[in-house]
């Protein structure tokens, strides 16, 4: 009887050990990052500083609201600085389904007109002259890239997963991205983007991560184009989660009304 108990206990312990050793796949990690709790709706004031290699700076400011509807995300943003783009609005409906093209509208206050723009447009263009592409700024579907777990390591004092992501699309400006994801909060803290010659092109650092309303929140992102020396610093302030917004905010009608 004792022997039987011992064997059972041994099997159980081995199962525990094996399960602990089981590693999440790259896709599972990225799915967890995407599923990270961040409320059903969000608000942030964003300041983007574009810094040339010479040190010359340009600033862009905008306010952004987002709302999750199922797996999809609707987002509306208005530029508040500089003056020539103040009031310009950008509405996007991002779909989780990779077969479905995102919907995008741009409102130009000087023209008093909203223009529908291609959901496939601009994704690989740089956003407002920054080092972030439109794709970097939007919620990307996990299945747009193939994710491979590389290793676990400690970065900046935090235990991280390192995942390599290779986009399926040929249009992307990077051929692979390596991301360091903090295991405790599921936020990427570092990413490296490699170009078609497999040379490091851009380097992203995310800092000032803390909890706001109980949600892990990033406050600062720095993207540097290591090939040109140009860099962009994004600072997010006044972030709020589960903001009381009506779905009507994410409509063309509201886009035209403005802030």
């Amino acid at each position: 009887m004792k022997t039987r108990h011992f064997i059972l206990s041994l099997i159980a312990l081995m199962a525990v050990g094996g399960a602990q050793a089981a590693q999440l796949s790259g896709r599972e990690i990225m799915q967890k990052v995407k599923n990270r709790a961040d409320g059903d709706s969000r608000y942030a004031a964003i300041e983007m500083t574009l810094i040339q290699k010479s040190g010359h700076k340009r600033v862009r400011k905008l306010e952004s609201w987002a709302m999750d509807i199922g797996k999809d995300t609707k987002k509306i943003m208005f530029f508040t600085y500089p003056g020539d783009v103040k009031g310009t609005g950008f509405l996007t409906w991002d779909y989780d389904n990779t077969d479905k093209v995102d919907d995008k509208w741009l409102y130009l206050p000087a023209m008093k007109k909203t223009r529908r723009i291609s959901g496939k447009s601009s994704k690989t263009d740089y956003f407002m002259g920054s080092d972030f592409t439109y794709d970097d700024m939007s919620t990307r579907s996990v299945d747009e890239e193939k994710h491979t777990f590389v290793r676990e390591e400690t970065f900046d004092g935090h235990r991280c997963w390192v995942v390599e992501s290779v986009p399926y699309g040929k249009d992307d400006i990077y051929t692979r991205r390596v991301t360091w994801i903090r295991q405790d909060c599921l936020i990427p803290v570092k990413a490296e983007y490699y170009d078609k010659l497999n040379k490091l092109h851009r380097s992203l650092t995310i800092s000032n991560i803390e909890k706001v309303q109980g949600f892990w929140t990033m406050h600062s992102m720095q993207m540097e184009n290591v090939q040109t020396g140009h860099q962009t610093l994004i600072r997010m302030s006044n972030q709020k989660f589960n903001v009381k917004v009506s779905p009507n905010l994410f409509t063309v009608s509201k886009l035209e009304k403005g802030l």
């Binding site: 108990h5 059972l8 206990s9 159980a12 312990l13 199962a15 525990v16 399960a19 602990q20 050793a21 089981a22 999440l24 967890k32 599923n35 990270r36 709790a37 409320g39 574009l50 600033v59 500089p82 003056g83 020539d84 103040k86 009031g87 093209v101 919907d103 509208w105 000087a110 008093k112 007109k113 529908r116 723009i117 291609s118 496939k120 447009s121 690989t124 263009d125 740089y126 407002m128 002259g129 920054s130 249009d171 405790d184 909060c185 599921l186 309303q213 109980g214 949600f215 006044n238 589960n242 903001v243 009381k244 009506s246 779905p247 009507n248 905010l249 409509t251 063309v252 009608s253 009304k257």
Partner: protein
């Protein structure tokens, strides 16, 4: 012993679940916090009781010189634009003022109240009353269903398109429900387009078929300010995933005057009058993204639109069908390309009409941004397909810093007949400096 065995067996799934999904507990924890999170009212300005003031505007100076013949000044003006929005709860007031000094056209120097309206936006309803610019349709720089706010051709098309629109005194109500927007517009006293007649203006309207001295009066024929002459209409818009669709209708007037020429009794002079008649517009437009392209279509029928007639004949009426197809291409790398073709067809062309039964106008735009969006190159052309004329505006805008932009450009005209023929010698080089705040 049984108890110990049970615990061990229970631990197996428990620990393996922990190892497999240690972050799920994080998700669970934050999900709990999410439920406890304080709902903050950040975005719905209609719930914010405090007074909010927003100011923006610009100062610009624009100068153009003719490049054909005598190289005289075509434009020289400096303008300050101020826009203020006062918002308290669901109510707001918007004011837009221009202070302009025009060195060539004295009557364009002064203060101008461009827009001034009150609005009330609560829930699904958005009400706006006052002097405002209302833009309909999906066409780019062409008006098919866009008949509410008329056009100011003081400098023809050789100015920024947003400067061309004339505000109207209107009541506009919008009701939005999900992707559907219903819009009703009422304009008690109509506003009409401006065609320049000042002989000092190089863009002035001039009779081309006669050498007789002439007088032009485009204003006396405007409709009386009576309730019966009110304009009204509406628009229904659906913004769906992958499709925008609108239907519109407007009981209106021909906003640009139809000119009627009469030779004086003594046969020594010509009198040109602007005529305005009641008409109705029924139209539809759509925008459809396909890959890196967006297809746009717009059509409208103008019922009883007045038509220009031969000298000494009364104005004629005809139903006119307009149709436009456009395509925008976003190839990436900060390029954008678009082209449009608009066709105008008179049903049952009257015998004395001086206009063609079928006319075509096309546009082409190519834009490219360089140096991290600090340099914007663009060329935009109107092509008079019927008569073979072209007007092309090329511009290069460079942002000196976040506030100041320097733009230089060239307007090129080439036409022997048609709508651009009168400006055949108006090709010009221009420069603009703009400070935005």
């Amino acid at each position: 012993m049984k108890r110990l065995r049970l615990w061990i067996l229970l631990l197996v799934p428990l620990l393996s679940a922990r190892a497999r999904a240690q972050t799920d507990t994080l998700l669970q924890t934050t999900a709990d916090m999410e439920r406890q999170a304080i709902e903050r009212e950040a975005s719905d300005a209609s719930d914010d009781p405090s007074l909010q003031v927003r100011v923006k505007g610009f100062l610009d100076t624009y100068h153009a010189v003719r490049t054909e013949g005598k190289a005289d000044w075509m434009a020289s003006r400096t303008r300050a634009r101020g826009e203020v929005t006062l918002e308290k709860g669901p109510a707001s007031l918007f004011l837009s003022l221009n202070a302009t000094y025009n060195a060539l056209l004295n009557d364009r120097t002064g203060l101008e109240l461009r827009e001034a309206y009150l609005s009330y936006a609560k829930g699904n309803v958005d009400l706006r009353v006052g002097r405002q610019i209302i833009v309909w349709g999906v066409a780019d720089a062409l008006c098919i269903t866009d008949c509410v706010s008329p056009m100011d051709y003081t400098e023809f098309l050789a100015q920024d398109y947003d400067d061309i629109r004339i505000p109207v005194n209107a009541l506009r109500v919008r009701y939005t429900w999900r992707s559907l927007t219903l819009e009703a517009v009422c304009i008690p006293v109509g506003a009409f387009g401006i065609l320049p007649t000042d002989p000092h203006n190089p863009w002035a309207l001039r009779p081309t078929a006669t050498s007789l001295p002439y007088t032009i009066d485009l204003e006396s024929g405007r409709p009386a300010k009576r309730l019966a002459n009110m304009e009204f209409g509406g628009r229904l818009t659906l913004n769906l995933s992958g499709l925008d669709l609108s239907l519109s209708g407007l009981r209106t007037w021909n906003k640009m005057p139809v000119v009627a020429a009469h030779i004086a009794d003594d046969g020594r002079s010509l009198r040109v009058d602007g005529l305005y008649r009641r008409m109705t517009m029924i139209g539809a437009d759509c925008a459809l993204p396909i890959g890196r392209f967006v297809l746009r279509g717009e059509t409208a029928c103008y019922f009883d639109e007045p038509q220009e007639a031969t000298v000494d004949m009364d104005v004629l009426r005809s139903n006119v069908l307009h149709a436009l197809i456009g395509i925008d291409w976003f190839p990436g790398h900060d390029w954008n390309v678009s082209a449009q073709y608009a066709h105008r067809h008179l049903t049952g062309r009257p015998d004395n009409a001086t206009v063609y039964r079928n006319t075509g106008l096309a546009t082409a735009r190519i834009g490219k941004e360089l140096l991290r969006n600090t340099l914007k190159l663009s060329t935009f052309a109107y092509i008079d397909v019927t008569n073979g004329g072209v007007f092309n505006r090329f511009s290069a805008a460079y942002a000196l810093n976040d506030q100041i932009e320097l733009t230089a450009g060239y307007d090129f005209f080439h036409a022997d007949k048609g709508k651009f023929a009168a400006y055949g010698k108006n090709s010009e080089a221009w420069v603009k400096l703009k400070y935005s705040f």
